[in-house]
């Protein structure tokens, strides 16, 4: 079994290196995509190649440890709190957040900070109310927790739908981002980048399961944190480690740009100082609160994040992992803020990084990449580009694993086989699903190349907050919650979130091309309303539920709460 794995891994590695070589040969052609293709960057490709080779060895090692379904889904429960914290932080620090937030800071300054804070504040709430209960009740997927005392089929069907919908939107966003980014960074064709991401991700998940996925994520998190730390250090070192001096220089640059654009000195001064305070990011209070809720509670409903709670041995390690995750993510956002200001000073007016129209070469998201070149030269540029690619790869692997486990564990083993599937056949189904998801992700990634997909990550968060989170929360904490209430309420939240997003400005006007102002739903995020739909649905249909099943559901609460509070009977660490 292992020998075959190794051969397949080796073969894919060879195929990949051939793909990289032929890609380089093709790289000269013109391209019509949103992101401009850059000349082939051999340093970046070399460093990325080193990352791939290193992670293939890890995958080989992980494959030798992946024997049962428990190994595949949860790395046998043998990850420590600190390691898991890094892996969670890695899942969270996507390429979109690294490049997107630093670019947002470069353009509008303070607004980028507001945006990043929204992603952080969900973590303490998860820690206080959910983390240990998740660990104590769960086994492989969040549906194990949500369905603990309920009739399995309806809740599992809901949870699998919630998982797959969230994973699908998140995955499309990552794949399209991967294609655009790699076209930029490496000078590869868009489709080729998407295929490489899909193929590598399948290798990690298929052979190495959660063990490989976790270690790939940990390594990438360390590389990203180290790279970002170096950039922020170099930026600050240029200003004698005085934030005031960095900010003053940034305001000065913005003022010069505004003056050059024909503003009077007073106007230019006001415009420039505006980067130091809140700008137009938060337009109205409803959008602000709604968006904040999507980010805060969406975190607590993302299936690929929730799954990481089952990779640690007990509740104590689960808590430690969220603490470390919060610390690293918070530190990372501080770094991206400094990097964004560094980009204002070193990149935004440097002719080396600007195209004929005065925009950044390669598009707006390139701020951090150009800054890497400015502070660390070509080798460091290659390093950061390789890390950005690795980031996407690691995040897609985690997403695919969680999608595969929803199909194999929730649908196949629990719904179709009524809990009687053996570990080997469950494992086989999850591997088949991994391949299917990988192919679907590549196809959708190519299909959505030219689409505006900016809404997809926030939609994934909104769905997670409105469907997965309410069901999880109410089933764990509310005694009177019933199967019927949780299923109907969960689907209501899901449908409301998707429906309101379709008629919101970002999809109705920007993506579907309807006239401006025609969107029925005026706010930036549906979460405030769709979360309410989810919670009220669960509450209403639970209290109206007087079926026989409802009596069983309610009677099961006491035993569930004792296990969730004490961990008695919890799935232990199955170290082999």
């Amino acid at each position: 079994m292992n020998g075959r794995h190794v051969n397949i891994v080796g073969g894919l590695l060879l195929a990949l290196s051939l793909a990289l070589v032929s890609a380089a040969a093709l790289a000269a052609g013109a391209d019509l995509g949103q992101a401009e293709k850059q000349p082939t960057n051999w340093t970046a490709i070399g460093m990325f190649g080193a990352f791939v080779v290193g992670t293939m060895f890890i995958t080989k090692w992980a494959a030798s440890k992946t024997k049962s379904a428990a190994d595949f889904y949860t790395a046998g429960g043998g990850i420590t709190g600190f390691q898991n914290g890094l892996a969670i932080a890695g899942d969270y620090m996507s390429a979109a957040s690294f490049l997107g937030i630093s670019a947002a800071v470069m353009i509008s300054g303070y607004d980028g900070l507001i945006y990043s804070i929204g992603f952080l504040v969900g973590w303490p709430v998860i820690t206080f109310l959910m983390a240990e209960k998740l660990r104590n009740l769960g086994k492989f997927t969040f549906a194990d927790v949500a369905a603990y005392r309920f009739k399995q089929t309806p809740i599992r069907a809901f949870a699998a739908s919630g998982t797959l919908v969230v994973v699908a939107f998140y995955l499309i966003a990552q794949m399209v981002g991967a294609g655009q980014l790699i076209k930029l960074l490496f000078g590869l064709e868009y489709w080729m980048a998407v295929v490489i991401v899909g193929a590598l991700m399948m290798v990690y998940v298929l052979f190495g399961g959660m063990t490989a996925t976790t270690w790939v994520q940990i390594i990438k998190a360390c590389l990203l944190l180290a790279g970002a730390t170096f950039m922020a250090f170099m930026v600050l070192a240029n200003y004698g480690f005085s934030p005031e001096a960095l900010f003053a220089a940034s305001v000065q640059v913005k003022a010069t740009v505004a003056t050059a654009a024909g503003k009077s000195p007073e106007e230019a001064g006001t415009l420039a100082q505006a980067i130091m305070g809140p700008g137009s990011f938060i337009k109205d209070p409803v959008s602000a609160i709604s968006f904040g809720m999507a980010l805060m509670f969406g975190t607590a409903g993302l299936p690929h994040i929730l799954m990481r709670f089952f990779t640690v041995p007990d509740a104590k390690e689960a808590r430690k992992s969220v603490f470390w995750a919060t610390t690293w993510i918070g530190y990372f956002y501080v770094l991206t803020f400094i990097i964004g200001f560094g980009a204002i000073v070193f990149v935004s007016t440097n002719p080396d990084f600007l195209d004929a129209k005065g925009g950044l070469i390669g598009g707006g998201n390139m701020a951090a990449i150009h800054l890497a070149n400015a502070v660390g030269g070509n080798v460091f540029l290659g390093f950061i580009s390789a890390v950005a690619f690795a980031t996407i790869l690691a995040v897609v692997a985690g997403l695919t694993l969680s999608g595969a486990s929803a199909v194999s564990h929730d649908l196949y083993a629990t719904v179709f086989k009524k809990g009687n599937a053996d570990s080997a056949s469950e494992l086989r189904v999850s591997r088949i699903t991994t391949i299917a998801l990988g192919v679907v992700a590549v196809v959708l990634g190519i299909a959505f190349e030219k689409q505006n997909i900016a809404f997809m990550v926030s939609l994934a968060f909104a769905i997670a907050a409105s469907a997965n989170f309410p069901v999880l929360f109410m089933s764990v904490l509310w005694k009177d919650c019933t199967t019927r209430g949780a299923t109907i309420g969960g689907f209501l939240g899901l449908i409301t979130a998707v429906g309101l997003t379709v008629v919101s400005p970002s999809v109705w006007e920007v993506t579907l091309g309807n006239p401006k102002g025609s969107a029925l739903f005026p706010y930036a995020s549906p979460a405030l309303f769709s979360m309410a739909a989810g919670f009220i649905g669960i509450w209403l249909f639970s209290i109206l539920d007087s079926s026989e099943r409802a009596k069983i559901d309610r009677a099961g609460y006491l035993a569930q709460s004792i296990r969730s509070e004490t961990g008695i009977g919890a799935e232990g660490a199955s170290g082999h």
Binding site: I114, T127, F128, F247, D284, R319, G330
Partner: protein, 102 residues
């Protein structure tokens, strides 16, 4: 779990103290976190000038230390909970588990 042991644990005063103290502490910290974050968002939504006000002669505004403060606060409040839960609450949990086996 057996029904008898469920009833036994549920009746254990230490178990009741554990869930009462821990959930009260968890909800208290949740409320504080909500107030801090949504307070911050509300300030931005209703009075942007407050955070854009300069602190001294330079370009530094009130909003910068407050924004960074929210990040640091988020990490610290998580640490406070984890520290208490991993010592005091886990010790109590261990006692409950031990007594349930008697």
């Amino acid at each position: 779990m057996e029904n008898s042991s469920v009833a036994k644990i549920a009746a254990n005063p230490k178990y009741q103290r554990l869930i009462k103290t821990r959930s009260r502490f968890g909800w208290l910290l949740t409320a504080i976190m909500m107030i801090v974050y949504y307070g911050y968002i509300a300030i931005i939504a209703f009075d942007k000038e407050l955070l854009a006000a300069r602190m001294g002669d330079g370009v530094m505004t009130v909003g910068i230390p407050i924004g960074f403060g929210v990040i640091v606060f988020t990490i610290i409040i998580t640490g406070i909970y984890v520290r208490r839960a991993n010592s005091e609450f886990d010790a109590l949990t261990a006692e409950v588990i031990k007594e349930s086996l008697k």
